[in-house]
């Protein structure tokens, strides 16, 4: 038994292990958190660094099977058992249609979808960007997840997989418990900054990271871990896979484990399994979406076809070989998920530009077309300048975020003209597009991405770029564009509301959002993440699958927040803690008027097609 290959946990044989309680000391940190929470067994778990991994894995498996599953539902975490059986409407998480109907009596009836500030004049640029639509797109998976009592009933009345939609009361408790959590977060930030791959996975510091992400294959082989080396975590991942397949063997799907402020979220995307372990206050759904992003990131490099293919041929293939060198892309994406509101809003932001200037740029890009060219995207940093697409072809904002991430996390495109196969998973997971990626000038922030269907198209696209640049220069737009980019954003003071610190406004129909510069109190990285965390929290409350809200005024110690969702837009405001509710409400009107006045500049109102 102990000689068993650690990469391929054999569930069947392991279940036969019988151990006395004293010898059951799994040293699997991730699962350990979970055991601490659900500590029904009262076992004492100590780490045993000297012990062989195989033994550890076996013990852990045995332990999980022996101890975890007979969890009683009354262990305190679930207050709302009945909601488990609430059927998901149309298999969708966001009951979109019902919401719309509910919201038709919106306080500003004029602002129906399509007429809100920032709404595009013609068709939208993106695939329609409803919040959470990315999860609903995976409806077939969600539908499976209704909880069934596993066979052999008395052993486990409910497996650990049950989802626990939380009541507002619970959320409030959570909010009160927040300060302590924040202290921890700050400590952690001090202790370790960037990626620490060599980190000891048995150390306390490793366990204290706010969010772990693991990717593994169905054979339990490690593919990616955010912290610590994959090798050191192979036994942990083996256990995770064992847990997933054990629950699946009972014709069930494990989605998450909630415990003592920790959430362990599982996303099963055959042939991969993604696991997130988080002690942020993000909802399970948000975490699942983040895992989905990581999944798509992997798909964008390989295509699902290739992924399936390699695992079809060899089930225990080590995918790290094919993904070599892409870890920093995933790391960077995880960072973006923490600090870029666009990723949870399902929206994209653009550089504020006079509309006349943007139109010239767009039409120059439009003119530089080629037969197989599908999308032309001009970026300035992580903001969109303009996007031109083939008629009837839409780019999904998720794909665009993946492109941002690709360009943003590599300096290799500054060396010359890049030419790379890329899969846009929301467009088609089966095939590659070919992207011509280059900066307009070596020192410039302006990056042009031309996406073609033909892998022989490099010089055609290179020529498109030359024609585009020529056209810009001929109309002396290039200089104007460079100058406009010196101020890539705007200060919130332009709005003229003194108490307002920051806001995020998303126009639903165009899938674009606008947001001022991050103000002084939030400029440090951890403060910025905290602010985004607050927005994200409000976002998840507003889009709660069973209890969506339209309007939240949230008073916290360091700021007051207000969020409002209508059929046309989503709005998140951050006020100084001294502001009052009345002030905040009056600020909304003023802000909306301001955005309406500036919409030419803040949004792309007339998207172009070839």
């Amino acid at each position: 038994m102990q000689e068993e290959n650690e990469h391929e946990p054999q569930l069947v044989s392991v279940t036969r292990i019988k151990c006395s309680e004293k010898t059951l000391r799994p040293t699997i940190p991730c699962i350990l958190h979970f055991t601490e929470v659900t500590s029904v067994t009262g076992l004492e778990f100590l780490s045993q660094p000297g012990q062989e991994k195989t033994i550890r894995a076996c013990y852990s498996l045995a332990w999980i099977i022996e101890r975890c599953l007979p969890l009683k539902p009354d262990t305190g975490m679930e207050a709302d058992v009945h909601n488990n059986s609430v059927p998901l409407e149309n298999g969708n998480l966001a009951p979109v249609d019902r919401l719309r109907r509910d919201r038709s009596d919106s306080p500003t009836p004029g602002l129906v979808e399509g007429t809100e500030p920032g709404a595009g004049q013609d068709s939208a640029m993106f695939v329609h960007a409803q919040s959470f639509e990315d999860l609903t797109a995976d409806g077939e998976q969600e539908q499976e997840e209704e909880v069934q009592v596993p066979e052999g009933g008395d052993r486990s009345e409910r497996g650990p997989e049950v989802e626990k939609p939380r009541t507002e009361g619970e959320e409030n408790e959570k909010m009160q418990g927040q300060p302590g959590e924040e202290e921890q977060e700050q400590e952690e930030v001090q202790s370790g900054g960037g990626r620490a791959k060599e980190e000891d996975v048995n150390s306390e510091a490793w366990r204290r990271h706010r969010k772990h992400v693991f990717v593994l294959s169905e054979a339990g082989k490690p593919i990616y871990s955010r912290y610590g080396t994959e090798e050191a975590l192979s036994s942990t991942m083996g256990v995770m896979m064992a847990l997933v397949s054990f629950v699946e063997a009972g014709k069930n799907v494990i989605r998450s484990i909630h415990a003592e402020g920790y959430k362990v979220v599982f996303l099963r995307k055959s042939p991969l399994v993604l696991v997130g372990v988080s002690r942020t206050r993000q909802s399970e759904r948000e975490l699942t979406r983040e895992l989905l992003y990581i999944y798509y990131q992997i798909i964008s490099l390989l295509t699902l076809t290739q992924l399936n293919h390699v695992f079809q041929i060899k089930q225990n293939y080590d995918l790290r070989r094919l993904l070599a060198g892409s870890e920093h892309l995933t790391d960077n994406l995880l960072r973006l998920l923490d600090c870029d509101p666009g990723l949870f809003l399902s929206a994209v932001t653009c550089v504020p530009l006079p509309s006349s200037l943007r139109d010239v740029v767009s039409s120059s890009l439009q003119a530089a077309k080629a037969k197989n060219l599908v999308f032309s995207i001009l970026l300035a940093g992580s903001r969109l300048v303009t996007l031109v697409r083939k008629k009837d072809q839409y780019l999904h904002h998720m794909d665009l975020h993946l492109l941002y991430n690709l360009v943003g996390s590599s300096s290799s495109f500054r060396e010359g003209e890049g030419w790379t196969p890329i899969c846009l998973p929301k467009f088609n997971t089966a095939g590659f597009f070919h992207a011509h990626i280059s900066y307009l000038e070596p020192a410039s922030d302006l990056c042009l991405i031309l996406i073609s269907t033909d892998r022989e198209d490099f010089f055609t696209l290179s020529d498109c770029k030359r024609r585009f640049l020529e056209r810009l220069r001929r109309r002396s737009t290039y200089q104007a564009l460079q100058e406009a980019l010196l101020a890539p954003s705007y200060p919130v003071s332009q709005v003229g509301i003194p108490e307002l610190r920051h806001f995020v406004y998303k126009s639903k129909s165009s899938g674009l959002y606008t947001s001022p510069e991050i103000p002084i109190p939030y400029q440090s990285e951890e403060e910025q993440e905290r602010l985004m965390g607050l927005y994200q929290y409000l976002h998840s409350r507003m889009h709660h699958p069973t209890r969506p809200l339209r309007f939240i005024y949230h008073c916290a110690e360091r700021e007051n927040l207000l969020s409002w969702v209508t059929s046309g837009f989503e709005l998140y405001l951050c006020f100084s803690p001294l502001g009052t509710k009345a002030l905040a409400i009056s600020a909304i009107n003023k802000l909306l008027k301001w955005i309406r006045k500036e919409e030419d500049r803040l949004f792309i109102l007339s998207p172009q097609t070839y």
Partner: protein
């Protein structure tokens, strides 16, 4: 919804629900009538491709040659491939080298053919301090010998500055490498992108060999023919 998937010069419309393995097979098909014409442009005289295992320093080599600089920073892997055109003086002529710096990562291997197809020279790199990179080099040399016979091969041992600092870390013996080079009729250089040693010499050699090659002669003749034809057209 049907999706365009491009297979070289042939376009197939493949339905989304197409069987995955079939799609894979389709996707791996090499174009039947590949001429390499598309991937080499008129503005380039000679297509040069860099091949080799990841982290051997292909990008650094190009960076040193083209921009005369060396990044000491953290390793950044190339995504896909990067193209740079660089003019070079040979005798009294100026040639333009179109240099393809390819990614070493395995996932781009299936794509590599479009980069070396029609190349007149391939610089296959290996890391002098990493014997596995030399094993990989042999793979690329075989690949070139099978698919691209007219392509001249240059072996390039990188990071020679590290060897100079500490001889014991050399893992690829100079004589072994030289023997292998003779066997496959390749030129061999040991370079350092950090100090610039042998880098210009390598590319100069590539350009000179191309200049003296038949391909170049044919090309210039064709051009002259073109010009003559044009002239005669003007006369009439």
């Amino acid at each position: 919804m049907s999706i365009f998937l491009n297979l070289g010069i042939h376009q197939h419309i493949i339905r989304r629900n197409c069987e995955f393995h079939e799609l894979w097979k389709l996707y791996n098909i090499e174009p039947l009538f590949s001429t390499g014409r598309n991937m080499s442009s008129q503005r380039v005289d000679a297509k040069v491709v860099l091949l080799g295992k990841e982290y051997v320093g292909k990008t650094s080599l190009v960076e040193r040659y083209v921009h005369k600089r060396f990044h000491g920073g953290p390793y950044q892997n190339t995504i896909g491939a990067a193209f740079v055109a660089k003019p070079i003086q040979v005798g009294d002529k100026v040639l333009t080298l179109g240099i393809w710096d390819t990614a070493g990562a395995e996932r781009y291997e299936a794509m590599s053919r479009i980069y070396y197809r029609g190349a007149c020279a391939a610089i296959v790199c290996y890391d002098l301090t990493d014997s596995s990179s030399f094993v990989r080099l042999k793979f690329w040399v075989k690949e070139l010998q099978n698919c691209e016979q007219q392509c001249k091969i240059y072996l390039c041992g990188t990071k020679s500055d590290l060897i100079e600092a500490d001889r014991s870390i050399r893992q690829v013996d100079y004589h072994d490498a030289q023997d292998y080079a003779e066997e496959v009729k390749a030129e061999i250089f040991e370079t350092s992108s950090k100090t610039g040693r042998n880098v210009d010499e390598l590319f100069q050699k590539v350009a000179e060999d191309f200049h003296n090659s038949t391909a170049f002669q044919v090309m210039t003749e064709e051009r002259e023919m073109d010009q003559r034809q044009r002239k005669s057209c003007c006369h009439h």
